[in-house]
């Protein structure tokens, strides 16, 4: 529109030149020669054919004017000269404007290149920034770890040097002074003896703590009688309590279920707590007991001691967090007892906490999971649950968000002869599990990681296995497995790389879709270090568009809400470019050996129709494993 307007404007302007020439000096005026190059140049510069024709018309028409102006005879040579001048000008102007256009084209090109380069640079910069962020995060964590380690070592050295200095002092005194009375000599020897005992006890405790905290204990849990734990630990502590004039009460309220754990370690926890109670109580009584609590046995040790400041109640379970500031002449310990107890209790799948009121006393509680019948089966033949007929009645709990896929899977399982239960969320599943114990749990990723962790915890305590899978219904077909693998936290480079390798992912961009920026940045850094270019997306729709546009070699998906996740899957699966690309899902938690992921196999990467049968087969296999 605009060009056309400009062209017609120029055209008019040229036509107006005609009268302008006449007025400026008549036909004889040499000024007119100036117009030819001007018109030619303008027409070529704006690359307007109309203008060019106008110029030509002007050049041809101009001599005609002489015919109508009588006194001026026209020379044919002049006319030819004018026409030649015009064409010459057109030629020159054409050349010049050609050059100008070429330059302009180059300039535009350069600008475009510059923009694309600066975009790329920005992108790289962002990637570097993410890498830097992730690295500094890792650095901070390492520093913190290093600090805790240094503190630990310095505390250990302090605790070792104190008794060592007593031993050294007294032995030197005994060696240097010959005339010490035998009573004093004996006292010094006793000190040396007790301090060396203290040292060796401390060393044992440190080793215990390190072993427990590393989680590398090779301990086999068995079913332990709760009453036995109570009476055994009472026996150990009673002399100490009597010596201090304290009353030690073993409360027996009800018949307690057995617990699942390691007998000596559980006694150690009770003894540690009782020991503290005796140490920090001047007068009064210490109560010891247990009660059954929803699948756990809750043990308690309460005293009538000084109590613990509220702000210290969290700290006391940390190594060397001894409360020395407030009390006077507080008894000494290694400061490790409670952290060891905490480690043991958590290793057993329970928790430990304290209730305390200043001046009134403290109560320590800890829970240990009840022994499930399957674990106690070997010891109590009357409760033997290994009878397969009985066990097969234990239902399979199917937890999926989508009702169609849940129904479909349950139907398939019931066809094979299983009993099934269904739940749509992890919370609902926990409700059901409170009422009855399923033989196996098949679950999709939950929306809430905390609930999922509770589920895993529960399964661990009950000895039930969890199959983790992701189902997706595409285009009205039957539900199928949707992902090729799970990446659990914390990200392990080798785990991720072997996952990629097993699906033959090489080169090509990797797409990371996650609402969690830190998570995706960390992953990007890991992938980048392994030579994989990756592109980050924080929302589903743009990621799906990118999947269609580019041809990614793998896709990582973070924790989205169920609906968003469905959309992403639908988007990815329906595109012919990304439909067969391996998809890995990022987990917000760490998996343990009770959770088995069921994914598409590398062999079936192309397409795995009827993958639901694969899942059913896997479920059958896992279920029979549970029977062994």
């Amino acid at each position: 529109m605009k060009t056309r307007f400009r062209t017609s404007f120029l055209f008019l302007a040229v036509l107006l030149l005609l009268p302008a020439c006449l007025v400026s000096g008549g036909t004889e005026s040499p000024v007119r020669f100036l117009f030819f190059p001007l018109i030619a140049f303008l027409s070529l510069y704006f690359s307007s054919r109309a203008l060019h024709l106008a110029g030509l018309a002007f050049t041809v028409l101009f001599p005609l004017m002489y015919l109508f102006t009588p006194p001026a005879p026209i020379h044919l040579t002049v006319v030819f000269a004018e026409i030649a001048a015009f064409f010459l000008c057109t030629l020159v102007a054409g050349f010049v404007s050609g050059r100008i256009r070429q330059e302009r084209f180059r300039y535009d090109n350069a600008i475009a290149t510059f923009h694309s380069l600066s975009d790329a640079l920005n992108h790289k910069n962002m990637n570097l920034q993410t890498a830097l962020d992730a690295l500094s995060e890792a650095h901070k964590k390492l520093q913190e770890f290093d600090k805790t380690k240094t503190e630990f070592v310095s505390n250990v050295s302090h605790e070792l040097r104190t008794p060592l200095s007593s031993i050294r002092s007294y032995s030197e005194i005994l060696l240097n002074y010959d005339d010490i009375e035998s009573v004093t000599q004996r006292e010094f020897l006793q000190t040396i003896n007790s301090e060396s005992e203290r040292m060796s006890r401390f060393v044992t405790e440190v080793l215990d703590l390190i072993r427990i905290e590393s989680g590398k204990q090779e301990i086999s849990f068995s079913s332990v009688r709760s009453e036995e734990l109570l009476t055994e630990s009472e026996k150990i502590i009673r002399p100490m309590a009597m010596e201090k004039g304290l009353e030690l009460v073993l409360e027996k309220t009800e018949v307690l279920p057995d617990v699942r754990g390691e007998r000596n370690q559980l006694i150690q926890v009770l003894v540690n707590l009782l020991n503290n109670a005796v140490k920090f109580t001047r007068s009064g009584s210490i109560k010891l007991g247990a009660r059954a609590r929803e699948g756990f046995v809750e043990f308690f040790v309460s005293d009538t001691g000084e109590g613990i400041f509220p702000e210290e109640q969290e700290l006391i379970f940390q190594p060397f967090a001894r409360i020395a500031e407030h009390g006077t002449n507080r008894p000494k310990g290694s400061g490790l007892g409670l952290s060891i107890s905490k480690g043991i209790v958590e290793f057993h799948g329970g928790r430990i906490w304290v209730d305390s009121e200043l001046g009134k006393g403290s109560s320590f509680f800890f829970t240990v999971p009840e022994a499930t019948k399957s674990t106690s089966g070997f010891e109590h033949s009357e409760l033997d649950m290994r009878n397969p007929v009985m066990v097969s009645y234990r239902p399979i709990l199917v937890v999926t968000h989508d009702i169609v896929s849940r129904r479909c899977l349950r139907k398939k399982l019931e066809e094979v002869g299983f009993h099934t239960l269904g739940a749509d969320t992890a919370a609902r599943a926990l409700d059901i599990m409170g009422k009855m114990r399923p033989g196996l749990i098949v679950t999709e990723l939950p929306e809430d990681w905390e609930e999922f962790e509770v589920l895993i915890q529960w399964a661990r305590e009950a000895g039930t296995r969890i199959l983790l899978t992701t189902l997706h219904i595409h285009a009205g077909e039957e539900p199928a497995l949707a992902v090729h693998g799970y990446v659990s936290k914390p990200f392990d480079k080798y785990e991720i790389l072997s996952l990629l390798e097993s699906y033959h992912v090489q080169g090509g961009p990797v797409i990371i879709i996650s609402p969690d920026r830190d998570e995706s940045r960390t992953l990007q850094v890991i992938l980048g270090a392994a030579g994989f270019d990756s592109v980050l997306f924080h929302d589903g729709s743009s990621a799906v568009a990118a999947c269609e546009a580019s041809c990614p070699s793998a896709i990582f998906i973070g924790s989205f809400r169920k609906e968003a996740l469905e959309e992403i899957f639908t988007g990815i699966k329906s595109s012919h470019r990304s439909g067969n690309v391996p998809i890995y899902q990022l987990l917000g938690t760490t998996l343990n050996r009770y959770v088995t992921p069921v994914t598409l196999s590398p062999a079936g990467r192309k397409a795995e129709p009827r993958s639901l049968y694969k899942l059913v087969g896997k479920i059958e296999k896992e279920f029979s494993k549970g029977l062994e």
């Binding site: 310095s154 050295s157 302090h158 040097r161 104190t162 060592l164 200095s165 007593s166 031993i167 050294r168 002092s169 007294y170 030197e172 005194i173 240097n176 002074y177 004093t184 000190t191 301090e195 020395a324 500031e325 009390g327 006077t328 002449n329 507080r330």
Partner: protein, 150 residues
């Protein structure tokens, strides 16, 4: 003169101290403050054997009180004590005109440079790293007391 201290009870210590020493009360030479009774006992044994008058304390507040009462010539302070750390006691003493000439020995467990630097800034005179040799400590005390009396 050897005094028989009751091991941990400071009150009894005082009573014994007063009843035995009588006139010598004013001339307390050394105060040892540590929350580890064994260490206090070992040091005081050695010093008393050498004929010095010794007082003991088990926390930071108690040692300050005793220093004000008895004006000793040397104070042994454990770095980590209940109520007040050795550092804090040392700073308090060095700020006070009356007590800033007292020779302060810090007993440190860690012997780490950081602790040492902190204590130097607090004005402590000597450092001993645990475990120490009582004999060497005694030699050191003899030198210090010999110097200051001379």
């Amino acid at each position: 003169m050897i005094r028989n201290f009751c091991k941990y009870d400071i009150l009894t210590c005082n009573v014994i101290l007063q009843s035995f020493s009588g006139c010598a009360m004013a001339g307390i030479d050394i105060i040892i403050a540590d929350d580890e009774p064994h260490i206090v006992r070992a040091l005081s044994f050695v010093f008393e054997r050498a004929g010095y008058a010794v007082e003991t304390a088990s926390d930071g507040v108690e040692v300050l009180r005793k220093i004000k009462e008895t004006k000793p010539r040397i104070v042994f302070l454990d770095l980590i004590m209940p109520k007040m750390t050795g550092d804090e006691v040392c700073r308090t003493l060095k700020r006070d005109e009356r007590f800033k000439d007292i020779h302060i020995v810090i007993l440190t467990c860690k012997g780490q440079e950081l602790d040492r630097e902190q204590s130097i800034s607090s004005g402590a005179n000597t450092f001993i790293t645990k475990p120490f040799s009582p004999k060497e400590v005694l030699t050191m005390v003899k030198i210090i007391l010999g110097n200051s009396s001379a």
